[in-house]
């Protein structure tokens, strides 16, 4: 039932929280953000071994947990709270969802097992610069020859492109191809990102050999993006919670004019409004996760709503947190800007809140045909 977490789900939350406390403190996050890879493969594998995060979506027969959107959202939220550095969104959510949604070949079975173990990282290459992650507008070409398929095209904003072992490339059609990152036809150009905790690359494919993933690519990509934006929303709900706690903690202990600044209504009311945002973002993200899990009729609406709402809520919370901190919040040493960076890039990743709201309204209108006929009364 929506919003009722099982014992297993609560245990998962606790386990990820404990792991994050041990392996993803602020100095670790800062250090990893400075590296080219952006994460520590050993930590990612340990998280896979100890808590099974990398394999949550992987079916049990391939060594995963066979879990659903709600469990995945719990992981996203907990990892989002501490800006965990790792290929969770790119590999464990997006790429894994696409593998699971499409092909059931032998090759995929081995790949899924490696993804679940955290020893292999895959990522999805969709956007070509439009910034809407719409697979329908992909112009990347795929050519079939006796030796198999090759793909050619340039992809932008590819998450963890520099560390991925496999790219899932969306070509015209849409069709999805698995391309080996080591192939000479693949050139990866790391991008300097605002948010160092989530690396992106431009990737060029020149006659790169690809394995066509069988199945309804359009449907699988749609399902993958729905899942991806909800996980991003859950991550944002988690990040928003952390910055609110940070702001409230500071407002309680910072004294000016002989009083804790949180006793001033100017500060208190900012915090109160943020609590409304943070709690509502949490409700929106988990409602959408449950809608996906239950395959509800309002799935599309709630996915788009959660995406827009949580991105905006985290954006506001991260920004207000800096204002509440005043001067100290403006320094490099303070962690507030790390969250602002994550929040700001989240306002564009996988599409903008305004675009999501538009999709939300379109979905609402499509689902209530009675309203379409409302004439002048």
């Amino acid at each position: 039932m929506t919003f009722t977490f099982s014992d297993e789900q609560q245990a998962l939350r606790k386990a990820i929280g404990a792991f994050a406390a041990d392996h993803s403190d602020e100095p670790t996050v800062r250090a990893l953000a400075e590296t080219d890879a952006g994460f520590d493969p050993a930590t990612w594998q340990l998280l896979a071994e100890q808590v099974g995060v990398a394999g949550l979506l992987v079916p049990e027969r391939h060594g995963g947990a066979g879990a659903g959107p709600v469990e995945l959202a719990i992981a996203a939220e907990e990892l989002g709270k501490c800006l965990f550095c790792g290929p969770f969104l790119s590999s464990a959510v997006l790429a894994t969802a696409l593998f699971v949604g499409l092909d059931d070949s032998e090759e995929n079975a081995a790949l899924l097992a490696a993804l679940a173990a955290g020893t292999h990282v895959a990522t999805v290459a969709i956007d070509e610069g439009a910034g809407n992650w719409d697979p329908a507008v992909a112009s990347t070409t795929a050519t079939e020859s006796p030796g198999g398929w090759t793909v050619s095209g340039t992809k932008r904003y590819v998450l963890d492109g520099a560390t991925a072992n496999t790219f899932l490339v969306v070509a015209k059609g849409p069709r999805v191809f698995a391309v080996d990152a080591d192939d000479p036809g693949v050139s990866v150009s790391p991008l300097r990102t605002l948010d160092g905790t989530r690396k992106q690359c431009d990737v060029r494919f020149e006659d790169a050999p690809g394995r066509l993933l069988a199945g309804d690519a359009s449907a699988a990509l749609g399902a993958m993006l729905d899942l991806g934006v909800v996980m991003l929303a859950a991550e944002q709900a988690g990040g928003a919670k952390t910055v609110l706690d940070m702001a409230v903690g500071y407002a309680r202990t910072r004294f000016q004019f002989g009083r804790a600044i949180g006793s001033f209504q100017a500060i208190k009311h900012l915090c109160a409004d943020l609590l409304v945002e943070v709690e509502s973002a949490y409700s929106a993200a988990y409602y959408a996760a449950w809608a996906l899990a239950d395959d509800s009729a309002d799935g599309t609406e709630s996915v788009c709503l959660a995406a827009a709402f949580c991105a905006d809520a985290f954006g506001k919370a991260a920004a207000d947190n800096i204002q509440i901190h005043g001067g100290i919040g403006f320094t490099w040493e303070h962690p507030a800007h790390l969250y602002l960076r994550r929040a700001r890039s989240g306002l564009a990743l996988l599409g903008s809140p305004a675009a999501r709201r538009e999709q939300y309204l379109t979905a609402v209108l499509e689902r209530s045909p009675a309203q379409q006929t409302g004439g002048r009364s």
Partner: protein, 387 residues
């Protein structure tokens, strides 16, 4: 103890014997009070059955199923609950039963022109005179004052102690020469509230709830029941908005040819999102309560609702464009947009302003310290006042 199933069949059997849809309501209510079904959680010596909450809900459910009135008043009857908790035996003997049978009409005499957000700053005075108290002052925002038999009144009985300590709580008889009721016209043109002018009105001392000076404590209990009732009933803010129902902003935009306007669409989407999120928050609060976790989301609904109603007025105004300059029956959409925009203040001011709500959220949920209170520990007589 009766099993749930036995209780259910007992109640439904009793109802099928005593309740008919078109039957005499007063007679039925009297019988239901005698049977203990209207306040099943209350003790047996005060019309109750001493039932635990789960079983009391079974009684309520059976009443609801049958469409019969009156049950569950141990949760929902603000007046009777306050009276039961703090009333003198003499007052309970006279009023408790009539209240449960809906034979007494009540109103609230809390706010004053000088005591809105700062309700503990009431200045209406109550002075002991023999067996009575004599009341002087002015109350405001009172619904149903003209028809009421009694008003729940807070008045100051001691000016020489700090503000919270000098207040007492009364059931004031409304039908007497010292009470004058004047309708208050709201900015929307509607009148749902009254000003009540009290000049040398009398109230018997046995009508005091709690001890002299305990009025603030009694008020907290009364407010708790009022909030519970409001939360459950989700009462409309206005008769008119009830008649019009939820204006369908999508239909409004379509009729005005604005449904293709991207700005209008963003506004509508934001509004519908807020409504959905508010629903989900409530759903979540219920789920968390079922799991025995205290939930902070329930306390956020009023603030969110205030955003929703203001946003509704804004979006409607945006859609109707120049018609928002017009009013009246000839311009129903403009009229409605203006009404929505103005009536939104009912929610963001009434029952605690948004600013007071934010203080409550900041202090009680987030644990932020209170502002220094300059009137704390100061005899009320010395507290600064407006004007």
């Amino acid at each position: 103890m009766t099993t749930d199933a036995d209780l259910r069949s007992e109640v439904s059997g009793w109802l099928s014997e005593h309740w008919t849809a078109g039957g005499h309501r007063a007679t039925f209510l009297a019988q239901a009070v005698d049977r203990g079904y209207v306040v099943p959680r209350w003790p047996a010596d005060t019309f109750g059955l001493d039932l635990p909450d789960g079983q009391a809900r079974i009684v309520e459910e059976e009443f609801r199923k049958a469409g019969a009135p009156g049950s569950g008043q141990d949760r929902s009857n603000l007046w009777a609950n306050t009276l039961l908790t703090y009333g003198t035996p003499a007052l309970r003997d006279v009023l408790l039963r009539p209240l449960l049978e809906y034979r007494v009409r009540m109103c609230l005499l809390y706010s004053e022109p000088g005591a809105g957000s700062d309700l503990a700053g009431v200045r209406t005075s109550a002075v002991r005179d023999g067996d009575d108290y004599v009341i002087n002052g002015q109350k405001v925002w009172t619904s149903s004052a003209a028809d009421a038999d009694f008003g729940m009144l807070i008045a100051r009985t001691d000016l020489d102690v700090p503000k919270h300590q000098g207040i007492s709580f009364f059931f004031l008889p409304m039908d007497q020469p010292g009470i004058q009721v004047r309708p208050l016209r709201q900015m929307t043109g509607e009148s749902h509230f009254n000003e009540v002018f009290i000049t040398d009105a009398h109230v018997p001392a046995v009508n005091m709830l709690g001890q002299p000076g305990e009025g603030w404590k009694v008020l907290q209990t009364a407010l708790m029941y009022e909030r519970a009732v409001l939360a459950e009933a989700n009462m409309g803010a206005s008769i008119r908005s009830g008649q019009h129902g939820d204006v369908d902003v999508v239909d409004l935009a379509r009729r005005h040819g604005r449904l293709d306007d991207p700005l209008v669409r963003q506004g509508i989407a934001r509004l519908l999102s807020l409504k959905a999120v508010n629903r989900w928050n409530n759903q979540r609060a219920q789920a968390e309560a079922r799991q025995g976790n205290s939930s902070s989301v329930a306390s956020l609904g009023k603030l969110l609702m205030s955003t929703i109603v203001h946003e509704t007025g804004r979006v409607q105004t945006e859609i109707v464009g120049p018609e928002a300059m017009l009013d009246g029956e000839d311009h129903p959409d403009g009229d409605q947009a203006n009404f929505a925009a103005m009536n939104a203040y009912f929610t963001s001011i009434g029952g605690g302003t948004d600013q007071i709500q934010r203080n409550i959220i900041g202090e009680r949920l987030l644990g932020l310290p209170k502002e220094p209170e300059v009137d704390k520990n100061v005899p009320f007589r010395e507290v600064k006042r407006s004007g």
